[in-house]
């Protein structure tokens, strides 16, 4: 005995759209204009025997609907006397109220809210155990309400309930839920919404607050690797797509992602570091890379023993990119829930602390958050300097991991330390000390620069260093798209576009990204 409960302010078009995909026995018309909705439903061919009105007995007289549903404090006796053959339902919120309603000849009860529900975010849900006690206390049908959907029907019936009353799972469905609002989630949501999907992004804190807003923004498609790697072809493709991406995002959102292409010099000092550069140079075989024994010949600002100049590894402003993805997805009506932590992902939706959201598909883009066995954070600290007299334009990347990325308005982004398995967000003194020691050694002209900002980011690292991209190994209709470690910014658009196409039905993508299959790391673990 399942009920579809209409949202109070919904249009008839929205109501009919939801009903078309749903399975129900009754429609409980709880609405600000009940007569209008009842007439429209009847006109659409829905039989009056499926309709339940809200509290107003005259609607039975006028439309001969199946029954009336009452509030906990209402008295049913007048209605039962006048219409003994019609259904009288009542909402109750406790075992005591259930017993009273049953004694007043109610034909069925709504009890809830059982699970977290959008309609009752401020109150604690009652849970299955209380539902079971209510079902045991009365002999009339008890219908569960609050966070109900087809996926929990078995659990509900197992504790003795006769059915469910559903609102959101019928009338507030999305096509895709995106869990995690970093560059991967936002870029994927943008392309899905652009293709006509109804999308929501659910973010535990604020958009970009994990790694995305902290990144240096380097498009190091060549700098990142000195050997074959399955990510490399995607990295090169992604890097080349950036000028077009900048134009597209600028036109769509007005935001300039500040793509720069002055190239990147990788520098080394010790014999060991020089060996690393030699190896990397040999791998790239002079393809768009030049060796410098005297780095000052490549750039007068840089002091180092030797260097590799990758002329095509450019950079972007990561915060502008994140904001541009966000505005792009808002442009296509993506709904954004911030400060909402998802606690459960299932086939058909997600549950947060406050509510349950329903969709045909879910994609998990949670970055450093997930099963600790598969993905873990590598904390990085950064410093932003301001030096109006330094004309450095190239990115400088030292073999020891310190980098200097010139940004707009005479700023220089110095990054980054690496602290494994650390979720903390404070910047440490020794982190800043190391960053500045390195930066000033490599570019001494920065000594008089002003320190304008320090921050942290949490890089998402997987157990084997390759991202997770594809189908969830155990939960149907759930996709995974996370773990891009040091190359999230570079890969964000290219891989998210492929993820969107996969979600839209292009299964050929799975073969392309086979090396990143989630099942290779996730096994039987869910979420």
């Amino acid at each position: 005995m399942n009920f579809a409960v209409t949202p109070y302010h919904a249009t008839i078009a929205h109501i009919l759209e939801g009903l078309a995909e749903a399975i129900y026995d009754y429609i409980y018309v709880r609405h600000k204009e009940p007569q209008h909705i009842i007439e429209a439903l009847l006109a659409a061919g829905i039989p009056k025997e499926q309709l339940i009105a809200h509290r107003d007995i005259s609607l039975v007289t006028t439309y001969d609907v199946a029954g009336v549903h009452f509030r906990e404090t209402d008295c049913l006796q007048v209605f039962k006397q006048q219409f003994p053959n019609k259904l009288a339902g009542q909402s109750v919120h406790s075992q005591e109220a259930a017993i009273i309603a049953a004694s007043q000849q109610a034909d069925y009860l709504f009890f809830g809210h059982v699970f977290p529900s959008a309609s009752k975010q401020q109150q604690t849900p009652k849970g299955l155990t209380t539902l079971q006690r209510v079902c045991q206390a009365v002999s009339i049908p008890v219908i569960a309400i609050g966070g109900m959907h087809i996926g929990v029907e078995q659990q509900i019936r197992a504790v003795g309930a006769h059915g469910m009353a559903m609102i959101s799972s019928i009338f507030s469905r999305f096509d895709v839920l995106v869990v995690g609002g970093g560059v991967m989630g936002c870029a994927t949501a943008w392309r899905l919404a652009e293709a006509g999907q109804r999308v929501a992004v659910i973010e535990q804190q604020t958009i970009g607050s994990g790694a995305s807003n902290a990144a240096g923004g380097m498009l190091g498609a060549q700098n990142e690797w000195a050997e074959e790697n399955p990510l490399q072809p995607f990295a090169l493709e992604a890097r080349e797509a950036y000028p077009a991406l900048q134009r597209e995002l600028l036109a769509l959102t007005g935001i300039d992602i500040e793509w720069q292409n002055a190239g990147l010099i990788k520098v080394a000092d010790t014999a060991l570091e020089q060996q690393a550069l030699t190896t990397q140079y040999a791998y790239w075989q002079q393809h768009e890379v030049a060796w410098f024994d005297d780095v000052s010949q490549c750039d007068a600002y840089v002091h180092a023993a030797c260097g590799l100049y990758f002329q095509r590894d450019g950079q972007v402003n990561a915060r502008q990119l994140t904001e541009a993805y966000k505005q792009a997805m808002l442009r296509y009506d993506v709904q954004v829930f911030e400060h909402e932590q998802v606690v459960d992902v299932f086939d058909g939706g997600v549950r947060t602390i406050h509510q349950t959201l329903f969709a045909d598909k879910v994609v998990v883009t949670t970055g450093a958050w997930g099963d600790a066995d598969c993905v873990s954070p590598v904390k990085g600290e950064c410093v932003m300097l301001h030096a109006p007299d330094v004309q450095l334009e190239k990115t400088i990347f030292h073999a020891n991991g310190c980098y200097i990325v010139p940004k707009a308005n005479h700023r220089f982004l110095i990054g980054a330390t690496s602290i494994a398995n650390d979720f903390s967000r404070h910047v440490t003194a020794k982190g800043v000390q190391w960053l500045l020691d390195q930066a000033l050694r490599i570019v001494p002209a920065l000594a008089t620069a002003a320190i304008v900002e320090t921050w942290t980011g949490l890089r998402p690292q997987t157990r084997d260093g390759l991202p997770l991209m594809g189908l969830h190994p155990t939960i149907p209709n759930v996709y995974v798209h996370q773990g891009h470690y040091r190359n999230g910014i570079l890969l964000s658009h290219c891989l998210s576009e492929k993820m969107a196409r996969l979600i839209l039905g292009d299964r050929a993508i799975l073969t392309q990204v086979e090396a990143f299959s989630p099942s290779r790391l996730m096994k039987e673990v869910s979420t």
Binding site: T270, L272, A416, L490
Partner: protein, 67 residues
Amino acid sequence: MTITVNGHNMDIPLSCNTIAQLLAHLKLKETLAIVEQNGHILSKKTYATQQLHQQDTIEIVQFVGGG
């Protein structure tokens, strides 16, 4: 045994006898590391067989990029 890695003294388990085992112990990928043992840069091919000794001075440079 006790060795020095990148300037830090480190106690490593007895089961760490080779460079390859040391890298595994430090959770570093072999292919992404260049190793110097007592001033000599090692060839990657020898990581699996090259023995570690008490008081060895080891320097490791990891390939990193991106950010």
